[in-house]
Symmetry: C2
Subunit: 511 residues, 2 copies
């Protein structure tokens, strides 16, 4: 920040009669929008930042080289000074450039190596029987160790959520409702909660009613039920690669086969490859995370989501989307779910409050479209019903509290912590490391130099009381041997900073 204010003073003290405060405000407005990406439109300053990154990647600009001054850049790109400032701030936050006091901006010394994003994945597109649960189970168990730094955790910091407010509602509802109400809301689940959830979708322009929603034990159960509703054992399911292991679990548990489709760290599942797969073999369903995919963090462009829904509908193939991170966007406009583009009821939408409001409440839901009845039945058969009080408490919270304000806070925080994490990795990880630039959520995908074995790193890190999520748990083929997923959804304490340093050191030692 201070560098930028200095720069503002030095480079264009009074241009356009804009006060510094105004400019900073504008920059920060810009900043909070800066990861909007391909979603709806790319802003001008992002395009400029992208051009600069491209030049660095191509070797046109070199690490250590001085950047054009704001004034020079303004003339070169023919844009306003504030646009250049936004572009430079974005690049600074991405760890691409750094300011040297009284001397201007320079390309970071490790910029070229670190800038690269992982490319489109290239899994074998043959269907595979799945068996990753033992490994995942070990990794997840490690998170429970006392004193561990949970960089491998799939959960954000539990400290970020309004536990006490929710707790008060649980107590109040427990006192207020009759015992009859307090006993098992049978599927589809608590009506008031379904009404509140439906209201949020309606506000965003989705056409649905509370009756379309089935409450589940987290999105995990929703995913399991939806997948079972549209498949039978032996079927092949098209999935992203790398993929969230819960998807692999669901596939393993139901005796299905996984077909991994290449997935781009910015654009999500590759539609060209998927289209050619669909032409040549029978796929029973496709599962995606359209928004801030776990582990890549990729955000599918809206036109891709729409195209995917249309492509699958052409074959009458159900699309299951796990959309638990949708609310955690850093950009200006909330991304849409594939469900938004669903015209035939073929999209089974899964989500939860576990990542956004009430991690300990385990409240998820499915919006299964034309498979509603079957999912409701399966819910009933799988676990009967959920405890009603947590459902009631969340419904009350949504009715009376400022959930959207809480979400804004969460987004700002994760966005900031991402920048901090990127800079730390920039500084401490070995040459040749690649990493994604998520535009939402709280996980980051790192491709380490090829010779580094993620499972070895995982073991080493555990010895230092650091948990990480090794790449092979995100693939039925046990691919991504040199990749890891890190969580930046935790408070930036000294422990965390030390853990990332240590991790970088361990990775360097292995490389």
């Amino acid at each position: 920040m201070s560098n930028l204010i200095e720069l503002l003073n030095r480079d264009h003290p009074k241009e356009k009669n804009t006060s510094i405060t105004d400019t900073i405000r504008e920059i920060f407005k810009g900043y909070s929008f800066c990861n909007n990406g391909d979603m709806i439109t790319t802003t001008l300053y992002e395009k400029i930042a992208d051009q600069i990154i491209y030049q660095i990647e191509q070797g046109v600009l070199k690490p250590g080289e001085r950047m054009l001054s704001i004034r020079q850049a303004r003339l070169k790109y023919r844009v306003s000074i504030s646009t250049i400032l936004q572009a430079y701030l974005l690049l600074e936050n991405k760890g691409v450039i750094e300011s040297h006091p009284r001397s201007g901006y320079y390309i970071c010394s490790q910029a070229k190596a670190l800038l690269a994003e992982p490319r489109l994945s290239s899994p074998l597109t043959v269907s595979t029987e799945v068996d990753v649960s033992q490994l995942v189970f070990e990794v997840l168990s490690a998170i429970k160790r006392p004193g561990i730094v949970p960089l491998g955790s799939p959960f954000p910091s539990p400290e970020l959520f309004p536990h006490q407010q929710l707790n008060k509602y649980i107590y109040a509802m427990g006192r207020r409702v009759t015992p009859w109400r307090a006993v098992g809301d049978l599927p589809p689940g608590n009506e008031e909660l379904r009404r509140q959830i439906a209201r949020r979708y309606l506000q965003k322009g989705y056409l649905l009613s509370p009756a379309d929603i089935v409450i589940t034990l987290g999105a995990t159960e929703a995913l399991n039920l939806c997948l079972q509703a549209v498949t039978k054992p032996g079927d092949t399911i098209a999935i992203e690669s790398p993929v969230f292991y819960a998807v692999l679990h669901a596939i393993e548990r139901l005796g299905l086969k996984a077909l991994e489709i290449p997935t781009h760290p910015r654009e999500g599942i590759d539609l060209t490859v998927l289209a050619s797969v669909l032409k040549n073999q029978r796929i029973a369903a496709c599962i995606i995370m359209p928004n801030f995919q776990n582990p890549l963090g990729s955000l599918m462009p809206e036109q891709n989501k729409q195209a995917l829904v249309k492509l699958l509908a052409g074959y009458s193939i159900p699309l299951i989307e796990d959309d638990v991170y949708q609310e955690l966007y850093f950009g200006e406009v909330p991304p849409r779910s594939a469900k938004f583009y669903d015209r035939k009821g073929l999209v089974l939408h899964c989500s939860s409050f576990s990542k956004t409001l009430a991690p300990g409440y385990r409240i998820g839901w499915a919006i299964p479209g034309r498979f509603q009845n079957r999912v409701e039945q399966l819910k009933f058969m799988n676990t009967l019903s959920l405890p009603p009080l947590p459902q009631m408490a969340v419904a009350e919270y949504l009715t009376h509290e400022a959930y959207d304000r809480h979400l804004r806070k969460l987004r700002r925080l994760f966005s900031l912590q991402l920048q901090q994490m990127l800079q730390m990795i920039n500084e401490f990880f070995p040459w040749g490391t690649k990493l994604t630039r998520p535009e939402g959520g709280y996980v980051l995908w790192i491709e380490l130099p090829e010779q580094i074995n993620a499972l070895k790193l995982y073991q080493l890190a555990l010895q230092h009381n650091i948990s990480i999520a090794p790449g092979p748990i995100f693939s039925a083929q046990r691919g991504y041997q040199n990749c890891i997923r890190l969580n930046y959804g935790h408070s930036w304490t000294a422990d965390y900073i030390q853990a990332i340093k240590t991790l970088g050191r361990l990775a360097t030692r292995l490389s």
Copy 2:
């Protein structure tokens, strides 16, 4: 009661120097033990009552006939007067005999018809693919209708449980624990809760530790996970007949086949038939409810449980037991679980607090023996974890409150309500009706005259705002077309009394 005191005065005013109060106390002591059955030993007065019932069933004693006086009976059976009194009280409570003022005891006019218990079931012992979920789902949905009398409900009255106490603990734990504790206890679940559950088993002589327990979303999930842990699609599972529909659901959902084994309303699954089945075909697992089976209410004699465990162990076949009613025994000695007799870790024990303490908390557990790891993994894959606060609240309740006193109250109440229900059915149901005499739990199985179709009765009853559970939902073969299950676990209000009268009238109309 008053009849009996009168009788005591008339028939043996001062015998043995026993005061009337003492005798009544003894009787009532006897009464609370009277349903002990075959469990450990049969008491003398029960044997006498059984002999009398047998004589009525065989037509030796006829409805309307006068019973021997207490004195005559004492001489005939060569027992003490109090033993005869206990036997007569038992028979009176069972609705077999009735007192006529100043004239003695008479066999009830409908005794013969109503006394009969259903015989051993005779399902086709061929394996069947299962598809009963739609029907069950409809039946269970009906319970949710406002104003309905839920005689078909699988739940006891929610008014019988300490909601407010538990609620206070939820609130207290929510305030006390750090956010970190409040977030997802991963499988096997909350440690303190597992410790409290283990403590109860240890007190009863079971050899197990908290680490042997996996917390689940009700016994329903426990059952599903255990079954999946020991089977693969296409396998055949030996089950009771009639059987709790959740078992059929689990079998259906996992693509397994059900083989229904004849089951006796007193003794449970028929071991002779099962043994011969095991000799001739491959069975992947056996599922039973050893204590107060739903829907029959049957209690397996201890030696049968032991024999069953041994029989299956001989073939290394896992035994899954759903034991949610174990704590609801009416007899003197708590029945044991099959798990008690397990030496090889082949018994997967499932239970919950849903029927005994906290119906709305949905806390169940599995003790899967040698399949512990697999069940823990499957739990993780199926629904990840449970909300921690309800688990903590129950653990606190078990630590600080008098759970056993609550259970004693519950047992007394259900036992009393069973007697009331038996008398009502006695009075209002058509000639030829047979019914079970459960020695615990809160459901009753009624075999109506053959021409009565239970599904028709179910529909008719619904029109009168009464829900019942029709027999066919308890069979993969859609058998038990003339049977229904009724719930006596609800307060004995005017609505309930009227509902049973109406039901009897409807059944009579159909017969």
